[in-house]
């Protein structure tokens, strides 16, 4: 009668092992983040993204949530799903995102939904980047509003249809200093929650 527990344990193990792999890769649910090796004030990254040294969990998560990502020498990716007070980012709230010059050749901040796609709206306000910061005359002290509707003044990134969203900061051709010491060098953008729901 040893065969029955062997069989039950084996079948349950196979199912649980496969399910846990799908969960770890972010195929089930939306809990997977881009990486967890580096966390600078809630902006998370992983220097093994895209590289042959990535562990199986990172490679699987990136395949699902950041396919075709570049290695750190070409681009680094920092993602946050929280405001500066640690609250989950939500389409129901309005935020002010602000920061300064970034340590690299070019940078951008783009908003994605929980499935890692651009939110399905037609607002044509998907990202804020160095080009927009420079054209507004404030490359060293820029800010933009994240909201589901156009604030009418200032720079805007739309969260309409974003649900519980996140934002990815890309820095292309990052400086060697940033790669060597991200916690000490990255001037993390501030994400200030202004109002939620009817609070506005």
């Amino acid at each position: 009668m040893r065969i029955l527990p062997l069989l039950i344990g084996g079948v349950l193990g196979l199912a649980a092992g496969a399910a846990s792999a799908f969960f770890a890769a972010g195929m089930i649910g939306s809990g997977a983040s881009v990486g967890d090796q580096i966390d600078v004030n809630g902006w998370k990254s992983d220097w093994t993204i895209g590289s042959t040294s990535a562990n199986p969990w990172t490679r699987a998560r990136i395949a699902r949530h950041g396919l075709l990502a570049l290695t750190k020498e070409e681009a680094v990716y920092f993602t946050t799903n929280m405001d500066s007070d640690g609250n989950r980012l939500s389409e129901d709230c309005t935020y002010e995102v602000s920061g300064g010059d970034m340590p690299g050749q070019w940078w951008s901040i783009t908003l994605y939904d929980a499935q890692s796609y651009l939110p399905l709206n037609k607002d044509n306000a998907l990202s804020f980047d160095q080009t927009k910061a420079a054209s507004s005359g404030a490359e060293d002290a820029w800010s933009f509003t994240v909201a589901a509707t156009d604030p009418e003044t200032g720079n805007w990134v739309s969260s309409q249809a974003g649900g519980d969203f996140d934002m990815t900061l890309r820095i292309y051709r990052p400086t060697p200093d940033l790669i060597a010491d991200p916690e000490g060098v990255l001037p993390t953008p501030g994400v200030k929650r202004l109002a939620c729901g009817g609070d506005a």
């Binding site: 199986p56 969990w57 075709l68 990502a69 651009l118």
Partner: protein
């Protein structure tokens, strides 16, 4: 008690086995599906194809950057090496190559302002053991499986810049040698 321990041991062994087999297979499976989807949408093998400007309605892979102009070339080196050549761009730009398991095995600048920049970046993609002696001048990238994918990214936040990037496609090459 012994039956319980037997079941527990079977669970632990098969759990670990299934976890790592599925986890290791996922990147290749995802890449393969994306490749199939690209082929179904009309992207041919060995030809640079410009992606439309990235919007919520045109996105086909996760986390596209709406500020970049992308061009894709699907590669298969099973019959021999493939040559890529990509003209320079006046702002940020890169040529990158991805293996079948998603690893980014090559990234080179196509920014005309970069140190040592030339008007054209030329790369040969090949499998280990394929003869590359006669192509000494070009950079060489060895991939572990025949199927690979090349991508050009060019900073193009406006329609005019996107069109300028698209105009460089006829002067670009992605073809077997």
């Amino acid at each position: 008690m012994r039956s319980f321990l037997t079941g527990l041991a079977a669970f632990a062994v098969t759990f670990l086995l299934a976890h790592f087999v599925v986890l290791s297979a996922l990147p290749g499976q995802i890449m393969s599906k994306v490749r199939e989807r690209m082929a179904d949408s009309g992207i041919p093998l060995h030809s640079w194809t410009m992606s439309p400007r990235m919007t919520p309605q045109t996105q086909t892979v996760v986390r596209p950057s709406p500020d970049l102009a992308y061009a894709i070339c699907l590669i298969d080196v099973s019959e021999g090496p493939v040559e890529l050549s990509v003209p320079a761009w006046p702002e940020y730009g890169s040529l990158s190559i991805f293996e079948a398991d998603t690893d980014n095995v090559y990234a080179g600048s196509v920014d005309a302002r970069a140190e040592g920049a030339t008007g054209m970046r030329r790369v040969i993609v090949a499998l280990e053991g394929q003869d590359l002696d006669e192509y000494g001048e070009a950079e060489q990238v060895i991939v572990s499986k025949p199927e690979a994918l090349a991508l050009i990214r060019r900073l193009a936040p406006s329609q005019a810049a996107y069109e300028a990037a698209a105009a460089l496609i006829p002067a670009s090459r992605c073809a077997p040698l």
